[in-house]
Amino acid sequence: MEQKRNTAVTIAGVTFKNPVMTASGTFGSGMEYGEFVDLNKLGAVVTKGVANVPWPGNPTPRVAETYGGMLNAIGLQNPGVDVFIKRDLEYLKQFDTKVIVNVCGKSVEDYVEVVERLGDEAVDMLEINVSCPNVKEGAIAFGQKADALFHITKEIKKKAKQPVIMKLSPNVTSIAEMAKAAEAAGADAISLINTITGMKIDIHRKQFALANRTGGLSGPAIKPVAVRMVYEASQAVNIPIIGMGGIANGEDAMEFMMAGATAVSVGAMNFVNPYATEETIQGIQDYMNQYNVNDINELIGCVK
């Protein structure tokens, strides 16, 4: 007889049926992967970043494979918040899953505008992208200095109706310091890590592999860095952490949770295996069965 085990986790008053989410930018708004996985099974869908107006993104090539990972410099191409509300949020309403909207902007005002537009929509949480390394203005500019992060978090918290997750960049000297700044400014949770800035050179063409020259590294190659940063952040703050970086399966998810993450996101590995989110959920259940864990919450931050 299979025992009923609790996989639900709660972040800022929002309860997720399991801790598995999708990393922003790797899953669209779920439409494309809805052909492969049952979105009702996911803890949450975290959408691609959305701005106040449509953003065209960067020139191509935008992606390049690297050893055990990939670089991307999409540049946050998105249709803007109006289309997003009408089309993407409308689509997501039909599923029994939580919706977390990733918000991007060039200025504090841009972010606040999107946050306010989403205030009365069917959105469970907001994830603020202050860590995309591929745009010239905004994004990471707010995520690499503790005082800038504190300021934008504070301004967003003043207007946000939903709980706010600040998505942190790994491209910093001290992730603990950044996590503390977000917490001090009132963030309800933090998510990490966004991609690590990298570069690839095509030696046959003697050119940068990406038109943007640099891009964000993701995939299994970055997992140990991500686990370390989740651990360091969890030691520094009391707000919940959503961990991500190369998660491919339940075992990877357990690593992040033991390091201190309350929930996890599957990102680049969706491209490798379109069923990765569902398989990660199954993998967590398998782990709980194997070790007779009744409640997933017992394992959060259990390695100190």
Binding site: E35, F36, P56, G57, V63, M70, N72, F271, P274
Partner: protein, 267 residues
């Protein structure tokens, strides 16, 4: 609706047909819904190469049990594929993208233009156009197949079964010296519709040629891809009108393409 799937296929045969060019038949259920101009994404087994490789569909067998892919070894992933033998398993995502609109060629003289590794999708396309001719009681004289190679030829014998084949080689060793455009000129070819796949300079030349000669051209574009299903926005091309997904001018090659009407794209 055709559902996209990631499946395990089995290698039925593989042979090298030119320098660096491999010809593989795989047994897979995906063949049931495969149309000319669509593609599959093939996953290397080596975990250091995480992303799938988009490869065009060259041919579908009559029973729709097997797919043929003809690909160039361009790096670690395709090099791994080239080592597969009959009976090996192969992980495939498909069927992806939109194919060539065959109906646009109905009753018209059509150029099938392939350059280098853009030639393979022309085979299934020629085959299906020939089937349409047969049904309508026509011969295949309206199918002009124009192929551009560096020097070594491949697939030209397969293609001859379905239309008139014209060849250009860079070194002039076979057919016209130069590109597919030289082959058109040398043979005085005239037509109504162009279906094409090949390197960007060739597609640009075709777009210009089609506009000048009042022909309708469809171009199959290539771009670096990650997900292959329209989620990551990695593979985009500039479009004349705002795209329906992001409402900018960047359509997704993997899901909105890879085949576009020439005047719709800014290449």
């Amino acid at each position: 609706m055709e559902i996209k799937k990631k499946v395990t296929a089995v290698v039925f045969s593989q042979e090298k047909i030119a320098d660096g060019i491999y010809d593989m038949w795989i047994e897979t259920e995906l063949s049931q819904n495969a149309h000319p101009g669509q593609f599959i994404s093939v996953y290397p087994k080596n975990q250091s190469t995480i992303l799938p490789r988009p490869i065009s569909i060259c041919e579908v067998d009559e029973k729709k049990e097997k797919l043929r892919i003809v690909y160039r070894v361009a790096g670690k992933g395709t090099n791994e594929f080239s080592e597969y033998k009959k009976g090996d398993s192969i992980s495939v995502l498909g069927i992806l993208g939109n194919g060539f609109p065959l109906e646009a060629a109905e009753g018209k003289t059509v150029f099938l233009m392939g350059g280098g590794i853009g030639i393979p999708p022309m085979l299934q396309l020629a085959k299906e156009l020939a089937v349409a001719n047969e049904k309508a009681g026509r011969d295949n004289s309206n199918i002009k197949i124009i192929l551009g190679f560096r020097n070594e030829l491949f697939l030209q014998e397969d293609l001859k079964k379905y239309g008139e084949v014209y060849i250009a080689t860079e070194d002039g060793s076979t057919g016209s010296k130069g590109t597919v455009m030289n082959a058109i000129e040398d043979n005085g070819l005239k037509g109504d519709v162009i279906f094409s796949c090949g390197p960007m300079p060739m597609l640009r030349a075709i777009k210009e040629f089609a506009a000048a000669n009042k022909m309708t051209a469809y171009l199959s574009l290539e771009e670096r891809m990650a997900c292959g299903v329209g989620a990551c926005l990695g593979c985009v091309c500039k479009t004349k009108e705002v795209d329906h997904h992001s409402h900018v001018h960047n359509a997704r090659v993997c899901t909105d393409g890879p085949v576009y009407l020439a005047e719709e794209v800014d290449i």
